[in-house]
């Protein structure tokens, strides 16, 4: 009797356990709830978009009523183009204060907004919201004339008052905003008339066109004037009203974004009707999904070993192009023995850059110029070429007195200390780790012993760039490092890397001529003279080696050519931009 009772209990217990599990299952409708809300509103949005899309072919018909029936009958409505793109990380609510990464966060932000100028496929700023930019002789005033008839997503007109408001707002709500920094040095913006505004700068600024006008999104005054806490703003539609070719209609944190085409876009309706951006946890997931056809493009560079694999699969294609990101060796040039230019030169000579490009990048990279600037860049000094000569490196070290006195294969410095160092690198970047491993071999050929220490990204950043503030010093000997594309895309940023007071000078490098040239570059109004200064700076970098630039990884983007293939590769920046999604005729 008792036995049976216990058996029942045992069974009950199992049932209870199963029930706990089943509860998990029963919870299913719960997460559905927010999604369901989204889906109930979404059809209306889609319907609205569809209607608007239908309106587009209709509109030209209206004035010419007689022809209208034939046109409509002859042209079957085009199949809407819908692209699903993969990104690897959530980008927040994607307004100018809440987007997260410089790439692709800023690029997604700029699908919804416009800047006054827009870089073209060569990376050169061209007229955009501003049909013309004029300057005074000493480059302290930039006057923009706006294109007529541009409207915000809600139909309000975009005017010079919005331009002034944008500058004032970013400057007054400065904390953590990239755009406030772009606009630093603007004393005021004067509204000349509804379509003309003048930026008055406190000093000559030759880079203002590229740095500020092509970078800052113009925001609508009627929306933002009532926003007092821009960074705490959640997505509710309003703060995502821009003038751009797309409008964000839905955001599911950590899962997906949804953008609808703006049929009234001032350059003409986009070539893509709907863009769904799917958030992946890592790039392996995104690559699997493009193989299965679950996404149509990856908004992220694919690693070299995937290029041939993905390209071979039908209907996938890979678009390759030069990019301005960098892979380099940093050392603390303010401490022994790296304060000796002979040691830095020897390291430079020991590096076989071609081998790194072939082995690590399988050819999908450009050999690094010791003078920093990419050979494909308009400011590149062609006189600068990398040299690989370990024998010369050994001779240089011998001559400078770094000898291997105990015959163990490792040189000594400063009274017997072995030239043995740790190379710190960030673990998630597997390509960088491979470069570090090759570096160990190459340096061993010149009697410098190194070992790789692969750490988590935040730890690595904290060693190389404590507190992201160069005035806090450095906690490393040798580090693998790399900068994002914008640091190089605009050559006027170069001084910040090498000037003794430069805020990106992570190697503690100091050189009197560089400091002097940097000061001149900042105020030089003549474009040819600026190029001459940049040319000389590259010579000094190649000779004094504040860092050793190894390679510029090429951009490689995979997409499904059956879905969409009009991708535009902007030199140095890749395919993620509004240019790719506009019809070729609407591009600059």
């Amino acid at each position: 009797m008792r036995t049976r009772f216990l058996v029942t209990r045992g069974a009950l217990l199992l049932a209870a356990l199963l029930f706990i599990g089943a509860c998990g299952g029963d919870d299913e409708p719960e997460p559905e709830a927010p999604a369901e809300q989204a889906t109930t509103t979404a059809p209306t949005t889609t319907a609205a978009t569809a209607n608007e899309m239908m309106d587009v072919p209709d509109e030209p018909d209206t004035p010419t009523t007689t022809q209208a029936p034939t046109t409509t009958a002859a042209a079957p409505p085009a199949e809407p183009v819908r692209i699903r793109a993969a990104v690897t990380g959530d980008e927040g609510t994607l307004n100018p204060y809440t987007y997260i990464s410089g790439f692709p966060g800023w690029n997604l932000l700029m699908l919804q907004y416009d800047s006054l100028t827009q870089v073209d496929a060569d990376g050169v700023p061209q007229p955009w919201l501003a049909s013309e930019v004029t300057t005074n002789a000493d480059l302290t005033e930039y006057t923009v004339a706006l294109v007529e008839g541009v409207t915000w997503h809600d139909g309000q007109p975009l005017t010079a008052h919005d331009v002034k408001f944008t500058a004032d707002y970013f400057i007054n709500n400065a904390a953590a905003s990239r755009f406030a920094r772009d606009l630093a040095g603007v004393t005021e913006v004067v509204v000349v008339d509804d379509l003309t505004a003048t930026f008055v700068l406190e000093a000559t600024n030759p880079g203002f066109n590229l740095v500020a006008l092509a970078d800052v999104p113009i925001i609508p005054q009627h929306i933002w004037e009532s926003v007092t806490d821009p960074e705490g703003h959640q997505f509710e539609g309003g703060t995502n009203i821009g003038s751009g070719p797309f409008r964000m209609t839905d955001y599911d944190e950590g899962q997906a974004y949804r953008f609808a085409a703006n049929p009234d876009y001032f350059r003409g309706p986009p070539g893509v009707d709907e863009l769904v951006v799917v958030v992946f946890a890592d790039d392996a997931g995104a690559q699997a999904a493009i193989r299965t056809g679950e996404v149509d493009v990856i908004f992220e560079r694919i690693p070299p070993e995937q290029i041939d694999l993905l390209d071979a699969q039908d209907p996938l294609d890979v678009l390759l192009g030069p990019e301005f990101t960098t892979q380099m060796i940093n050392y603390d040039a303010s401490i022994r023995p790296f304060d000796d230019v002979a040691v830095r030169k020897a390291i430079d000579l020991a590096m076989n850059r071609q081998d790194i490009v072939d082995t690590v990048f399988l050819g999908a990279a450009t050999v690094g110029s010791p003078g920093w600037i990419h050979p494909g860049h308009s400011s590149y000094n062609p006189a600068i070429v990398p040299v690989h000569d370990p024998a010369a490196a050994n001779a240089l070290l011998d001559e400078a007195g770094y000898l291997d006195t105990d015959g163990n294969g490792v040189r000594e410095y400063d009274g017997g200390q072995p030239m043995s160092f740790e190379i710190i690198t960030n673990a998630p970047d597997s390509l960088r780790l491979r470069i570090a491993e090759l570096t160990v071999e190459m340096l061993s050929e010149i009697g410098i012993q190194t070992s790789v220490s692969s750490v988590e990204t935040a730890t690595w950043e904290n060693a190389v760039w404590p507190g992201f503030d160069v005035s806090q010093g450095r906690n490393y000997n040798i580090a693998m490092w790399g900068w994002s594309a914008p640091v190089q895309a605009n050559p006027l940023r170069l001084p910040s890397l090498i000037q003794s007071t430069g805020f990106l000078n992570l190697t503690g490098f100091a050189n009197a001529e560089i400091d002097e040239l940097s000061d001149r570059l900042a105020v030089e109004t003549d474009a040819a003279e600026r190029e001459a200064i940049l040319g000389r700076m590259q010579e000094i970098i190649a000779d004094q080696l504040p860092f050793v630039l190894l390679a510029y990884p090429d951009g490689a983007y995979v997409y499904d050519s059956d879905v969409y293939s009009d991708w535009e590769f902007i030199a140095g920046q890749g395919i993620v931009s509004k240019l790719s999604l506009l019809p070729p005729s609407a591009r600059p």
Binding site: G24, Q255, A281, A284, E294, E456, G467
Partner: protein, 324 residues
């Protein structure tokens, strides 16, 4: 007697909570690096010293450590954990969005692995030493040693890439506008591979415990007595042995339930599943202190609750452990 016992147990739990909460608070701050990059974005290096100070002051990170600690306790009691540094969203809202997904996949996989582990374990023990037992034992031990990320990727490459029968990522098809039954099917389809991965990894633990516990019970005098009394094979197996052998399995399941949350970090990462584990991964990578603290607290609570459940169930399942 019971009350005294309860009070002691309560005190124990109190100490554990205190230690766990303190660790949750300290661990993020002991890691090198700081959240400035996360808050300020990629251009953090371009900020002036004043801007940095302003950002840090906004987050309360310039307060003395004891003050932040007190604030953390305040947050626990009020349930207001503030805002994520990364996204600016209220943390409670983020956890509320993510938790159901994690519960779905951990709950389902625990239920399946509990059932499978108990049944197969019992069978294996019953057939001790025979080929089917040895085969199962070897198979289970091999499964247990699989790395979870590798298993997940293997399943993706087979079921999604090769055969194209299951989705490879996410919890739902993005922007699909599915409703009702179709939506439910979509959710189940997306959960299959993560649940399969978690189940494959957690079944061997249950199986092994069940098997050894069964073997031990099979050697007990009362089983031999039952057999001597003429009780048949199946009746002894389920009526006497399995029932008595299940107690240690409860412990294993409770422990797994507690740690299941942490165990989903890698699986959610591999499948880009929008659960709590992925939230933690992102928070740790970016030193998003408030999100880390709140998520760790959920993990702590899960472990404690699972233990409490085991404590309460144990005497009920196995009367020998009752105090009185």
């Amino acid at each position: 007697m019971t009350r005294k016992f309860d009070r002691r147990r309560l005190a124990q739990y109190g100490v554990v909570v205190l230690v766990a909460v303190t660790l949750n608070f300290l661990l993020p701050r002991l890691m090198p690096g700081n959240p400035l990059a996360l808050i300020a974005g990629v251009d953090v290096g371009l900020l002036t010293t004043e801007q940095r100070a302003e950002i840090i002051a906004d987050t309360g990170l310039d307060n003395p450590l004891w003050r932040q600690y007190v604030d953390y306790w305040g947050a626990i009691f009020t349930g207001d954990f503030g805002f994520s540094y990364r996204s600016g969203r209220p943390i409670v809202e983020m956890i509320r969005d993510r938790l159901p997904w994690t519960l779905l996949i951990t709950g389902s996989s625990l239920a399946i692995s509990a059932l499978a582990g108990v049944v197969i374990g019992a069978f294996s023990a019953w057939r001790r030493g025979r080929p089917e037992d040895l085969g199962l034992l070897t198979g289970m031990i091999s499964l247990e040693s699989l790395p979870s990320f590798w298993l997940g990727m293997l399943l993706i490459s087979l079921f999604s890439v090769q055969w194209g029968i299951l989705p490879s990522f996410g919890a739902v098809t993005p922007a699909s506008d599915l409703v009702g039954w179709e939506h439910l099917k979509d959710i189940i389809g997306h959960a299959v591979l993560p649940v399969a991965t978690l189940t494959i990894l957690s079944t061997p633990g249950v199986y092994l415990t069940m098997r050894y516990s069964m073997l031990e019970t099979l050697g007990e005098d009362y089983i031999r007595t039952a057999r001597a009394k003429g009780a048949g094979g199946r009746r002894v197996l389920f009526g006497h042995v399995a029932r008595n052998a299940i107690a240690p399995v409860i412990t294993v399941l409770a422990i797994r339930l507690g740690f299941a949350f942490g165990g989903t970090v890698i699986v959610e990462q591999v499948f880009s599943y929008p659960g709590l584990g992925r939230l933690v991964f992102e928070a740790v990578s970016g030193r998003d202190y408030p999100v880390m603290q709140a998520a760790f607290l959920v993990f702590t609570a899960a472990v404690l609750i699972a233990n409490l459940v085991a404590d309460l169930l144990y005497p009920w399942v196995d009367p020998r452990t009752r105090t009185s």
